[in-house]
Symmetry: C2
Subunit: 321 residues, 2 copies
């Protein structure tokens, strides 16, 4: 299986320390999570009801600015796992480098998979996949560009896992058109990746097919209760977007002083050209700060954002030390 950020097991194996010693900046998960709060007992004990799931779906539609059919999934990853079974096997083109599960999942399901490096090269694919903004380089595509691509492919999957702080990039308001499927992540922006919650938004036919494959209880009771509450809290989202944008600039300013350059990023992570990413990762790891390197580019290091002043201070000391 592909390697991922957030794998502190590996950090501890290589550099020691205990889980609580580490600051995990190897992912794009917000380190200031939405408060979980108190949960009623039925959330744990009872099977999630259809009405509770519908309420979550409505909250997500409102938050994402869409009236199109939507399905909650066990993380955006669970929707990705189902994609190869959504239409007849054919050729999948993936705009890369990007989140590495797409190639893995389609290859495992026997699809003919090609990674392409520009948007135009997706045309002609049975299924075309891209992330907007992209992970790890933050590359952005205007909705207009993507809507122009739509009729040129069998199915267009747009992974919007990192779009929350830049909603103007989202195609959610265009969802419902035939052949367009949008994936959203809940856990990254809301800082609750352990909850496993994501959404697929698309045409009635696609969302119905995904729902049939996901089964009657696609997400947990806690995911439904916390997800609905968090998605309805637009004040928290607004304040969090603003804070993340400020913090991303703060990180850039600190890091650029070292001579690293910014490749790109989103409000949840930044990708830097460091010259030698493994050396940079090791330097940070000695201070128990975990970061992400990529097999296909030896200079590039991805960093998430510290969650509080103590973490900023540790990062600053580690970078300059």
């Amino acid at each position: 299986m592909p390697e991922h950020g957030g794998n502190l097991d590996l950090a501890m194996q290589r550099f020691g320390g205990k889980l609580r010693d580490w600051i995990d900046l190897s992912t794009g998960i917000n380190r200031n999570p939405y408060p979980v709060g108190e949960l009623p007992e039925t959330v744990w004990g009872a099977l999630p009801s259809k009405s509770a799931l519908n309420a979550l779906h409505q909250a997500a539609q409102q938050a994402y600015g869409t009236t199109a059919p939507i399905l909650a999934t066990n993380g955006a990853q669970a929707a990705i796992q189902l994609l190869p079974h959504l239409c007849a096997r054919g050729n999948a083109r993936i705009l890369g480098p990007t989140y590495n599960e797409y190639t893995a999942v389609f290859s495992a399901a026997g699809w003919d998979v090609a990674e392409v490096s520009d948007l135009e090269a997706l045309a002609g694919a049975d299924i075309a996949i891209l992330a907007n903004p992209n992970n790890p380089d933050g590359k952005r595509y205007e909705p207009k560009q993507l809507l122009e691509l739509l009729p040129k492919v069998g199915q267009l999957v747009v992974d919007e896992s990192f779009v929350d702080a830049t909603p103007e990039l989202s195609l959610a308001s265009n969802a419902g058109r035939e052949g367009l499927l949008i994936l959203r992540s809940f856990g990254k922006f809301f800082g609750l990746a352990g909850l496993r919650l994501g959404f697929a938004i698309g045409s009635d036919a696609d969302v119905s097919a995904l729902a049939a494959m996901a089964g009657p209880w696609p997400v947990s009771g806690p995911a439904i209760a916390i997800g609905e509450r968090a998605l309805r809290d637009r004040e928290w989202a607004k304040a969090t977007s603003a804070r993340l944008v400020r913090d991303a600039q703060r990180l850039d300013a600190q890091v650029l002083r070292l001579g690293w350059t910014l490749v790109g990023g989103t409000a949840l992570f930044r990708l830097y050209e460091t010259g030698d990413a493994h050396a940079a990762q090791e330097k940070l790891a000695r201070a128990r700060i975990w970061s992400r390197v990529f097999p296909y580019h030896r200079g590039r290091l991805r960093l998430g954002l510290p969650g509080n002043e103590a973490e900023w201070a540790r990062l600053s000391a580690a970078l300059t030390g």
Copy 2:
């Protein structure tokens, strides 16, 4: 999609009341759940780590008495959803009537599905499916009978969702043999169905194939943390088994006085012949107690067990009122 127990939306639509007014006896979920307790913040915030998932797998192997490969899934249902993709499409035979998702899931995936009424008729199937003990009638099969069937089918799936209180029926200690796949439910016996946790136990090839389809984060952080703790607590399991067996007898004694007869059951639910199940369901529903009827048998009513003395008193009054 098939109808299920636990659907209080339907109960409220038909009979009124609010969620908190109802006692849900329409499922086989233990109403005295394992205590959730305090959860560390990382359980919500971080991606579930491989080491945490491994620890859960080990706890489940110990609890279920097996050393065979095991995979945690988003409820036993998530494993069921994957079954049609585990081997080449062919003929599925299901020993029924049983949990209705098997027929639905295999039919939707384009399999040739037949429901058969005795164990011998499963022979010759590409995939043979049965529940032990069976839901809803509690029918039991000895491990020896099932091991004799194993070489006569391509793949044998044994759904042990209700076996916890009768571990002598479980095939878990035989898991690992080629062609044998066992499904376990965590949420029913531990009373935490909202958590979405189940397990598939089988050969290395089958469990690896299911793991690839389920993806890198098959279950949530809370499911891992609570699941591991609960599965290691064998004292709780022992006391709970004993309590459930006593309570099942107590329910039988109350109900048989009405002239109903026991069809069968497990320690988590009982199936009664009432003469007119819809009338019986309505009588209980007027007292805000929800029960389960089945489309294929007009006389049969399934009841779960009350969780405390107040619930027993309400049930007793509703039955005799």
